[in-house]
Symmetry: C3
Subunit: 350 residues, 3 copies
C-alpha cells in the first residue's frame, strides 16, 4: 500500500503567533502533535501521546516548560523525556515521547514529518515578505473537510477564479489567458505563469493603488510540493510594461502563500497569508484585504468540501479529463507522487 | 457480488412540477443526476459529474439551456456534449457526460437507470388519475433514511395500518381482513387485495363523502417493481355492493401512488400522490387530505428509520418469520431479486 | 476472531427503579433487550427483535403484561412466546423471542448474557449497602462513548484522581500512596488497596463528618470482572488507627459501586452508586454527594471520550508503558481476557 502523504518533508503546522505557553494540538499527516513555546522562546513539538495509556498530552498542563499529563501526571521535558511518574521513584528508561524537528521562520512554524535524522532546516523554502520592512501582511487559516490533493488541484489552476470567484477576483481574462508551465525536478518546484496585458482592474486594486484605467496583471505560481504554494502577483497600469517584460519597479506587488498541510486523509489545514508593498500603513486596506481573501478562501472551502463528499459517495468512478490549463496541476501531482514513493521506499529500507 | 438495485428499469426521479430552469440534483440508484427543463419545455437529465474534475454540474449555472460548470466553466449542451472549455479552442472529442433517457408522464419525471439502448418508454406503467378531469390530486415526497426494501415491505402489507397508524387510518378490520394475492410474472406486477364488507368509516371519509354509517372498503394493491406502487381504494355505504363485487359506480375512489425510488444503499425517495373523485373542488378537503397523508407517511418514515438503524446495528442477525399477510411482500421481493439478477447478467455479458 | 465482550456473565442492565410497566430498551454487549415489570412485579427481559421483520419490540405497547409489536401487532407473553399474529388463527410454532435470565438484587437489575442454561443467580456479587438499614444511597448512570476497557483501566488505577479530579477529590497523597494488589483467580476478583496514614481531609468529608484535622484514608478496590467494580472507602481522624490496621468501628464509610456494562464495541453504560453510613438523614449532604459524584463521573466521561476518539483515529499505534500503579489494571485485563476466551471456547464447542 502506498501512503497518501509525503513523509520526510517539512510542513507548516501553525503561525508563530499561535504558539505560546498554552499547549496547542495539531494533527499533521495523521500524526497528533502537541506544540508549545518555552519560557526561553523556543518552539517545541512532541508526539501528542502519553507513553502510559496514550492520553493526549495536549489535554494536560504546562508546568515549568514541562508537560504534565492530565490523566496520571506523567511529566515530560522539552526533549520528550519522562521526568516523573506517579507512585514510584524509578522512571522507566523507555519513557519518552518522540520530539519533532521544528523550525520557526518567516512567521511560520515548520514541522518535519518523517525520519528526524533527515531533517534539513536549510531545505525549507523562504517567504521573506511576511516579516519584512516595507510590507504589510494579513493571514488566516481554515480547516478544510477535503483531501489535500483537491486543494493542490484548486490552487495550481487559477482559471477557476473566473467561475468560482466570479463576484470577487474572477474576470473572463483569467480563464482565457495562456499559461506557461515550468517544472524544476532538481529543486522540486513547479511554476505556472499567466500574464494578462490588458485586463480589467478589480475594484479592490483600483481603490488601494489609485490606478484608474486598465492594467497589466501577472500571476506567477511557485509551488514547492508538498506544502508551500506561493502566488506572486503584480499589477501595473496598462502600457507601462512592454509585452516582453523587464524590471517591475513600477508595479504593485501582492505576495500570497497558501501552505497546504494534510491533517488526515480527508481533512486539510488551509493556511493563507497575503503581503502587499503598497498602502502598507492603511488599516482600512488591511481590513478589506482580509475580508476579501477570507471570503475567497471560504468559496474554495465550500466547493472542495462539496467535491470531497461527491467523490467519497462514489469512490470507484473517479475519472478525469485534463486539458492545457491542468499542465501545472498534473506536474504537481507527479512530483507529489514521487515524493511519497521515495519516502515509502526509504521506510521500507530502514 | 449482486447489486442492491435493479438496473435497466424506469424510476420516478421527481414530479414534473419540480423541474424548471433551475438545476435540480437527484441521486437515483446511487447515480448522481442533474435535471433541468429547456426553454422549449423538454426535461433533460445528465450525469452530475463534470468530465474535468468531477465537480457536480448541479452546482453550476444554466445559460441558454446549457450547463456551465461552477468550477472551471466547462459547458455542456442538452445532449451532454461539451461545447466550451477554458483556455483553449479545441474541445476534446471525449468531453461529454452521459445523458439519461427521461420521460414526463402523468405528472412524474421517469428516468431510465441502465443501458440507454434498452429504454422503452412504452413500458412505464400509467397512472392517469393524477392529471385527469374529474380528479383532484395532492402530493409530496419524503427522504427516508432506510434501504428501499423496507419501504416495499411496508407498503405491500397494509396490516401495519392497524398498529402503526392506529390513530389515523388504522382500524382492527385491516389487520384481520383476508387478502388475496396474485402474481403476474409476464407483466411483472404483484396484486394484493383486501375487501372489508362491514367496516368502520374513518372520520375523514365520513366528512368528505357524507356517508354516515358503516362501509364496504376495498384496498387493491398493484405493484410494478421496482418503482411504482399503487393502491386503488374504494369505499361505499355498507350493503350497496354484494359480496361478490360488481361495477363500482356508486363508490368513492381514492387512487394512491407511492413511487419507491432508491437513492443510495440506505436512503430512499418516498413519493406520495393521492387523487380522489369526490369533493374535488373543496380546498378544505384537499388540505386535510394532504395533512393526513403526510402525517401517515411520516409515521412510516419514523418507523422505517428506526428499523434501519436497528438492522444496521446487528447486520448478521437478520432473520425473519413470514406469515400469510406477507405473501404479497415476498412475491415482490422475488420479482425484484430476479430483476436485479437479470440486469447483472446483462451487464456481465456486455 | 476473539470477541470483545465476556459472554456467559452477569451484567447490570438497569436500576430496579428504572423498570416499570413502560417498555425500556437497553443494549448490553451488543444485544438489544427490552425490559419491563409485570403487574405481579417480576422483571422481564426479552430480545428486542420481533420475529416477523425484526422491528424493535421496545417501540410497541404493553397490554396485559404482553408486548404488542408496534408494526404489525405480533404479541408476546412473558416467556417470549408469540400469542397473536395478524390475519390468521394459527401461530407458527417457532414464533418466540429469546428470554434473558434476569435477577433483581441490591437495587440492580442483572441480566445474563450468554447461554441461559449456565446462568447461576448465586454467582452474582452482592452489594448489600445500597438497600440496607443505616445507609443512605445516591446513584446515577452516564452513557460513555468509549470502549468499556478504558473505564476498567480508569477505575482500577485511582492515581488519576490527583490529576483528572484535582479540583474535587484528588490530592497529592493518592498518586503517591503505595498500593497492594491481590488477585483471586478462584473467585475471579482483583483487589487493589491504598492506605494514606496522614492525608488532607477533602472539604466535603470535613463538612459531612465533622472531622477538623488530618485523616487516615483507605481506598479498597474490589473488582469482580466483567461488570462489578466496588470501592470500599473509609476515613477516620488521623491517629485513631495504628498503621497495622484493626477493627474500624470509629471510621466513616463510603461504599461505592460502578457497574461497568458494555453497550456496544465503543459505548459503555457507566452506573454509579454511593452509600454512606453517616449523616444518613441529611438531604443536604445527599444532594451535595450526588452533585460531587456526578461531576467526577463527568470528568471521567469527558477524558475517556477524548481518549476513545484519540485511539480510534490511529488504531494501529496503540502502545503502552505500564508501571507499578497499573498492577491491578493489568490483572483485571488478564482476567477479562480469560473470561472472553473461555466463553468463545464454550461457544465453539456447542
Amino acid at each position: 500500500m502506498t501512503s497518501s502523504f509525503a513523509r520526510n518533508q517539512w510542513y507548516v503546522a501553525a503561525y508563530g503567533s499561535e504558539i505560546s505557553n498554552e499547549l496547542l494540538a495539531r494533527t499533521i499527516c495523521g500524526e497528533p502533535i502537541v506544540f508549545y513555546r518555552t519560557s526561553a522562546g523556543e518552539v517545541i513539538g512532541l508526539s501528542d501521546n502519553c507513553v502510559h495509556r496514550r492520553f493526549p498530552l495536549s489535554e494536560g498542563r504546562l508546568v515549568d516548560d514541562k508537560i504534565v499529563c492530565g490523566y496520571h501526571g506523567f511529566t515530560y521535558d522539552q526533549r520528550g523525556t519522562c521526568v516523573y511518574v506517579p507512585g514510584q521513584q524509578r522512571i522507566p528508561r523507555t519513557a519518552r515521547v518522540p520530539r519533532y524537528p521544528v523550525v520557526e521562520q518567516d512567521g511560520f512554524i515548520w514541522v518535519w514529518i518523517g525520519d528526524p535524522d533527515r531533517a534539513d532546516a536549510g531545505a525549507i523554502p523562504r517567504t521573506p515578505w511576511f516579516e519584512a520592512e516595507g510590507w504589510s501582511t494579513v493571514r488566516g487559516m481554515e480547516r478544510l473537510e477535503a483531501r489535500y490533493g483537491l486543494l493542490v488541484d484548486n490552487l495550481m489552476d487559477l482559471s477557476h477564479e473566473t467561475y468560482l470567484h466570479s463576484t470577487s477576483i474572477g474576470s473572463p481574462e483569467v480563464a482565457e489567458a495562456p499559461i506557461t508551465t515550468e517544472v524544476d525536478d532538481v529543486n522540486q518546484v513547479v511554476y505556472v505563469s499567466r500574464r494578462m496585458d490588458d485586463a480589467e482592474c478589480p475594484p479592490f486594486y483600483a481603490r488601494a493603488t489609485g490606478i484608474t484605467g486598465r492594467i497589466t496583471r501577472w500571476q506567477d505560481i511557485e509551488y514547492h510540493p508538498p506544502c508551500l504554494y506561493q502566488l506572486h502577483t503584480r499589477i501595473a497600469p496598462q502600457g507601462v510594461y512592454p509585452p516582453d517584460d523587464g524590471p517591475d519597479d513600477q508595479a504593485f506587488h501582492v505576495e500570497i502563500a497558501n501552505p497546504i498541510t494534510p491533517e488526515t486523509e480527508t481533512t486539510t489545514l488551509d493556511f493563507w497569508v497575503v503581503a502587499r508593498d503598497f498602502a502598507i500603513d492603511d488599516p482600512e486596506i488591511s481590513g478589506s484585504l482580509t475580508e476579501i481573501t477570507r471570503s475567497i478562501i471560504l468559496e474554495d472551502v465550500a466547493a472542495l468540501t462539496r467535491l470531497e463528499r461527491h467523490l467519497a459517495a462514489d469512490p470507484g468512478g473517479y475519472q478525469e479529463l485534463s486539458i492545457n490549463i491542468d499542465t501545472g496541476g498534473l506536474a504537481a501531482r507527479r512530483m507529489l507522487r514521487r515524493q511519497i514513493e521515495e519516502a515509502d521506499l526509504a521506510q521500507a529500507r530502514s
